[in-house]
């Protein structure tokens, strides 16, 4: 009865139409039908009669593409360093998009595009957010009360400079702190505050240490904390161990190399306390107990020894394992044990070929710049007798013997109850790792935020050394960095007060008080730390007194750039009280009102990532140096200024005021300069204290007017950093990035077509490592290490006090770079909008807590309130929380660090020994993950 439903379809040529509309992109605005009469649509699945309206979205695209574009990277404490293109429409930033134009270094390695992440993708929104600082503000209420007076730049700079000069007069240069936190790590924008501080001799602390990012275990073994490979090397690995790192969250632009490496045949194993976003793609996840990593690492080392998986020839030459150690005092056998005037930096093997003692080449005191053994075949095992300087017999053995003996205490079976890992699992991954041709062990920043991260990493280094994984065969990877020489004249024209990060914060905040209360069970603490709480506190003082670590007196005036100190410091409430108490002038230079700016006396509004010129290239994850070149028509946001301009204006005021007060110069006896002058024939050298020349401050700061603004700084850097050659400023500005040259590598060349690996010079050219032994070092007889029985890699139990049931740990978040972008509503919308903690279903049930409940997290030092997220991926007895929420995001404005104790790792207080001397390569960590808590419904 029915007719079949045949369909016709009229077609129109869209391509032609598009070509036209492409040219004349006229807007319909918000389209309401312009059609004269009803449109008859036949079958929209096949064709559509009128598509003019489509210009609606075309016009929106045109707007976001903007009237001008620039280049940018996001200069925060993220090592991503990604090139973006930023568009601005009539002076207002619209959006950003990854530049995605990095060249592929080799046809068989995936290119690095499109580097970037969720945070970078919304800065065009965040830069206009309501927490943005637009004008200079002066406190009109109590500190932290949130009451402000809007003042002019001139008033702000004048009043601040008056107070600075007061301080210089009363306290000298040591009374002033000019410190730039990790909020700015780029060479461009960091230069201003560094230069001003250097000229004035101000105090600044070591940021990497203050935030707990020092890989001290790597320094013990290799002499430098930042070692490893560029992350494209992941693609070439056969075996990748990711330990305490969560690259899918924290290395977003680089993570693809892992999963492409996996497709390329690599086996990937993650070791972490929770089933994290990286583990979901791994071949295996090892669910370790938080803080038990040193046990796990040592158990792997024990398997290598026990099953003979080590590479003898490699360790004979490249490590100190064949070095001789005195059995009487457990110290390395040194030349001065055997010769009255002998060196304490010459060490010895037992040579199996000549069956006699032989000095090791390549140690610091050896005077020989090579590790080549020649005819020597160093013994790895055995006990020997040598004759001491007074003819006495000294019984010695090898580091190898002692390290093996120590490791035998930590077999997988023996430590299973501590790590929670089945011995079969440990043995399997150890065998696989050892036998793999190219096996990498990447260590995350969380490891050293445990008290024994230093031991964990040292043992990890030994695992790599024993199995011969170094340089292009893989090995330990912490956070590779490039060597950017030539910056000194810009950032450090004069010596200044550079001090330990973690220790200075600990002292300033009197954090020992929180340490005392949280670890009040001294028996328990001693058993785990090897020292009592009071011993550690004394050790800290001793470290300062003996100048193992540098710490100056407390400054009276703090000029803080881009450092959220009241957010990141532990036992935060406590710390804040102490520091504000002893600070007469507190100036915070910032682009947003963070939890530290809000306590300042003056807040100065700075530019953010797209608004000024900048350049960054030290990050070793990839070889690209990025520029920020603001879009030509981008309007300033409020009255913000670049850091360089702010410092330049300050130097102006300071010079005027000093002149007016008749103090052209201030003597700074803390530092001296030695000038050699010829008096007639003979040369006389004269040592005088450094002078702080207030009368020429402006010309000194601007290099006699050569470097006037942030653009000049970028130009200066491109012209003066050898690793940037042969790039010209103009080319860089046109491309938005520079490719580093061969000289960017520290211990290996950076080859144009290969991923970078540390220590090729050591492995192939046999040049010494930057350690006392000139080798990968696994014996340290510094007094603290002797006292704690840690002369060789060992393991210790985490310090979480048993009086609270939940180990509290705070890994890096996906939703901020620390506190940067943490309060962006775009980011908050992608989480739960407010601080939340992950608790396992079992622990939640016990406490009657349901997902979404408001809960109180507490211990003896503080408490905070957050939302419960019942999460099956965290283990019982732990509480996990994304780190770096702003304290002012919590009820009562008490942040998560108010429940974290300020504890120190005693081993990181050591110094004054071999390659353990305070500086960029040796400083400790502020410990973040050794506190325990209880939770209850709030």
């Amino acid at each position: 009865m029915k007719k079949k439903n045949k369909q016709n379809n009229s077609k129109i040529n869209r391509r032609k139409f598009l070509k036209v509309s492409g040219i004349c992109g006229l807007g319909l605005g918000i389209p309401t039908s312009a059609l004269g009469k009803a449109l008859q649509v036949d079958d929209p699945l096949r064709s559509y009669p009128d598509t003019k309206w489509e210009d609606f979205y075309r016009d929106e695209l045109v707007k976001t593409e903007g009237t001008s574009t620039g280049f940018a990277f996001h200069c925060s404490n993220c090592q991503g360093n990604c090139a973006w293109q930023v568009s601005s429409n009539d002076g207002v930033a619209q959006r950003e998009e990854q530049l995605a134009q990095y060249p592929q270094i080799s046809w068989d390695i995936p290119d690095a595009n499109p580097r970037g992440c969720n945070k970078g993708a919304i800065h065009s929104q965040a830069m206009y957010e309501k927490d943005r600082l637009l004008y200079p503000l002066k406190r009109s209420g109590e500190r932290g009360e949130g009451k402000w007076e809007k003042i002019s730049w001139d008033q702000a700079l004048t009043e601040i400079s008056e107070r600075i000069v007061d301080t210089l007069q009363e306290k000298g240069p040591g009374g002033l702190m000019i410190h730039t936190g990790t909020g700015i790590l780029s060479q461009g924008r960091r230069a201003g505050p560094l230069r001003l501080g250097s000229l004035l001799g101000s105090i600044r602390i070591y940021p990497s240490s203050a935030v707990g990012d020092m890989f001290t275990g790597a320094t013990l073994a290799l002499g430098v904390p930042n070692v490893g490979h560029s992350l494209d090397a992941w693609f070439e690995m056969d075996y990748i161990l990711l330990w305490g790192i969560n690259p899918n969250v924290t290395r977003i632009p680089d993570a693809h190399y892992l999963w492409e490496g996996k497709y390329n045949g690599a086996k990937i194993v993650t070791i972490a306390p929770d089933y994290n976003p990286t583990s979901i793609h791994a071949d295996q996840w090892v669910p370790v107990q938080p803080g038990s990593d040193s046990y796990l690492a040592m158990s792997m080392v024990s398997v290598v020894f026990e099953e003979g998986l080590y590479k003898k020839d490699f360790i004979r030459e490249q490590t100190d394992l064949p070095f001789l150690v005195r059995l009487d005092n457990r110290k390395l056998l040194r030349e001065n044990d055997m010769k009255a005037d002998g060196s304490d930096e010459k060490f010895f093997f037992w040579d199996l070929n000549s069956d006699s003692i032989k000095q090791a080449p390549g140690t610091r005191g050896s005077g020989r710049d090579t590790l080549r053994l020649g005819k020597i075949k160093p013994a790895l095992e055995g006990e020997y007798n040598v004759t001491g300087k007074d003819g006495e017999t000294i019984a010695v053995t090898t580091v190898f013997e002692l390290a093996r003996a120590e490791s035998s205490r930590f077999t997988p079976e023996a430590v299973r109850d501590k790590t929670g890992i089945h011995p079969d699992v440990v043995r399997d991954i150890t065998r696989e790792f050892s036998k793999a041709e190219k096996a990498g062990l990447t260590v995350g920043f969380s490891i050293h935020k445990y008290a024994w991260g230093i031991l964990t990493c040292w043992a990890q280094a030994m695992l790599c050394a024993l199995t011969g994984h170094t340089a292009d065969t893989g090995g330990l990877d912490t956070e590779s960095q490039w060597s950017l020489g030539g910056i000194g004249p810009l950032t450090s024209p004069k010596p200044a007060r550079f001090e330990s990060g973690f220790l200075s914060e600990w002292m300033s905040g009197k954090m020992w008080e929180s340490m005392r209360s949280h670890y009040d069970n001294d028996r328990e603490f001693k058993e785990r730390a090897g020292l009592g709480v009071e011993d550690v506190i004394d050790l800290a003082q001793k470290s300062i007194d003996k100048k193992w670590l540098t710490h100056y007196e407390e400054p009276e005036a703090r000029i803080i750039f881009a450092d959220n100190l009241f957010r990141r410091n532990k036992s935060s409430g406590h710390y804040k009280r102490e520091v504000l108490g002893k600070t007469k002038l507190y100036v915070n230079v910032n682009y947003r009102m963070d939890s530290s700016a809000e306590f300042a006396d003056y807040v100065l509004p700075a530019i953010s990532h797209y608004e000024g010129w900048d350049i960054r290239g030290e990050v070793g994850y990839h070889r690209f140096v990025n520029l920020t070149v603001p879009p030509a028509d981008l309007k300033p946001v409020g009255e913000t200024k670049s850091e360089w301009e702010i410092c330049s204006l300050l130097s102006d005021k300071i010079q005027d005021i000093a002149k007016a007060r008749g103090i052209p110069k201030i003597e700074d006896p803390e530092f001296t300069v030695t000038k050699k002058t010829k008096v007639g024939k003979k040369e006389v050298s004269k040592t005088t204290p450094v002078m702080r020349d207030l009368d020429t401050l402006v010309s000194d700061f601007t290099m006699k007017g050569k470097v006037k603004n942030d653009k000049d700084v970028v130009k200066w850097l491109i012209e003066n950093v050898p690793a940037f050659k042969p790039w010209k400023f103009e080319d860089a500005v046109e491309r938005g990035f520079i490719v580093l040259n061969k000289d960017a590598g520290f211990t290996s060349p950076l080859y144009a077509t290969k991923p970078y690996h540390s220590f090729e010079t050591q492995v192939y050219l046999r040049r010494p490592y930057p350690t006392l032994s000139g080798r990968q070092q696994f014996y340290i007889d510094q007094e603290v290490f002797l006292k704690l029985g840690a002369t060789v890699p060992t393991a210790r139990r985490s310090l979480h006090p048993s009086k609270f049931p939940l180990k509290f740990y705070t890994p890096h978040t996906r939703w901020g770079i620390h506190s940067t972008w943490r309060t962006s509503k775009r980011m908050l919308k992608m989480q739960r909008g407010a601080p939340h903690v992950s608790i396992c279903p079992e622990d939640a049930k016990k406490r009657g807590i349901k997902d979404g409940d408001k809960i109180r997290v507490l211990n003896d030092i503080g408490e905070f309130i957050a939302m419960a997220k019942v999460n099956p991926n965290v283990q019982a007895g732990t509480l996990m929380m994304d780190h770096a929420w702003e304290p002012h995001q919590f009820e009562k404005r008490e942040g998560l660090n108010s429940a974290v104790a300020g504890v120190l790792s005693p081993l990181e207080l050591a110094g004054g020994w071999g390659h353990l001397k305070f500086g960029a390569q040796w400083d400790g960590n502020q410990i973040a993950l050794e506190s325990a808590v209880e939770v209850e419904k709030a």
């Binding site: 009865m1 029915k2 007719k3 439903n5 309401t32 009469k37 009803a38 036949d42």
Partner: protein, 369 residues
């Protein structure tokens, strides 16, 4: 070829038949007060003042209500839930303007157009073109070549003026001087829509149809204006085709002389009375239930329009046409026709009813309301 010839043949006959039918009805009663029918006619009285612009305007007190039956739109999907209702209409006109007052029950006012929320609405529908010898547009949104004008009021007093030529073809149409005011009180919506008579006349021009509109700027010479109404209840998720609608009604301007020809053309007075019983039986034997759903049909097919309220929303002449000349009055929904050499053809089988049978069926269908 076959088909076209057959069609042409039948067309010839039916037109002839219809013609005689109309002649026969000259003496027939006023089609607008068919026995047992109320609410076919809305009488618009003339006011010397300005036409009212609000439901509370005293000018309304004089005017009398026409109770208009509303039926759920179920001829096509998306259909609204079954259930009859009523809207009470008054009309008043001045020299320049026509005002229409509508009142209907709604215990739950919905004011917003938002995510999953729809505003209560009321619409008046006019044909662009009508008059003696002109078929009225399909009641639901008109049909191709037979456009309708729609004045749509939405809660919050947003008013849209639109035109349509079948389902889904609603398109904004410029028409100035339209005012609307709605008041919800005690479970009742009271709405007044006021529009310029000149504007209405203009409709013809807009549509570009020949002959233009029978109601002219001067109501004195314009007797009878076809009009239909629809109501949407937002809280029942009503929007679009989910609505209650009336059949074509007629607005008569007092003191105006309706064109007698037009009245005749609207007559329903076929030769001999139809027999609803026979009609029902015929529908069963003809297998109408294979495609159409109507009371008593076991299956609920959707191949043809649902006839459950056919008598309520269609005039008898339309129903007759749809049987005798299906392709002339296709329900404008692509499922209901095919296209043969560019011409739409209803999937309704070619007619094989005699006119007598068809009349009987119409009589039955008229009871479906």
């Amino acid at each position: 070829m076959m088909m076209t010839r057959a069609f042409g043949y039948i067309y010839a006959i039916t037109t002839a038949l219809l013609f005689t039918a109309q002649l026969a009805s000259v003496a027939g009663a006023d089609p607008l007060d068919e026995p047992g029918k109320s609410g076919e006619l809305i009488v618009a009285s003339m006011t010397n003042g300005a036409a009212p612009e609000s439901p509370d305007d005293p000018a309304w007190s004089g005017a009398g209500f026409a109770n208009i039956e509303l039926y759920p739109q179920i001829s096509v999907q998306p259909a609204s839930a079954p259930g009859k209702s009523e809207v009470k209409i008054k009309a008043v006109y001045s020299a320049g303007e026509l005002a229409i007052y509508a009142e209907w029950k709604d215990d739950q006012p919905s004011l917003k157009h938002d995510i999953g929320k729809f505003p209560d609405s009321f619409a008046i529908e006019f044909p662009f073109s009508f008059g003696a010898g002109k078929r009225l547009p399909y009641i639901g949104m008109g049909d191709p070549g037979q456009p309708v004008a729609v004045i749509l009021w939405k809660a919050g007093d947003k008013v849209e003026t639109l035109e349509a030529e079948g389902f889904g073809s609603l398109t904004p149409m410029a028409l100035d001087g339209v005012k609307a005011k709605g008041v919800w009180r005690d479970g009742v919506w009271r709405v007044t829509i006021t529009l310029k008579l000149a504007g209405l006349a203009g409709l013809a021009g807009l549509a570009g149809k020949d002959g233009g509109s029978k109601f002219s700027i001067d109501p004195a010479n314009s007797g009878l204006l076809p009009v239909a109404f629809a109501v949407w209840r937002g809280d029942k998720q009503e929007r679009d085709g989910k609505k209650s609608l009336s059949s074509w009604k007629f607005l008569r301007f007092t003191g105006a002389a309706p064109d007698p020809e037009y009245i005749k053309s609207l007559a329903w007075a076929p030769e001999g009375k139809g027999d609803a019983k026979k009609g029902k039986a015929l529908m069963i034997s003809a297998g109408c239930a294979d495609c159409h759903t109507y009371p008593g049909s076991k299956e609920k097919p959707t191949d043809g329009p649902n006839l459950t309220f056919a008598g309520g929303i269609h005039r008898p002449q339309y129903l007759l046409d749809s049987m005798l000349r299906p392709s002339l009055v296709i329900v404008p929904k692509s499922e209901y026709y095919t296209i043969e050499e560019g011409k739409k053809e209803s999937i309704m089988p070619d007619p094989y009813f005699t006119k007598k049978d068809a009349v009987n069926i119409v009589e039955y269908l008229r009871t479906l309301r």
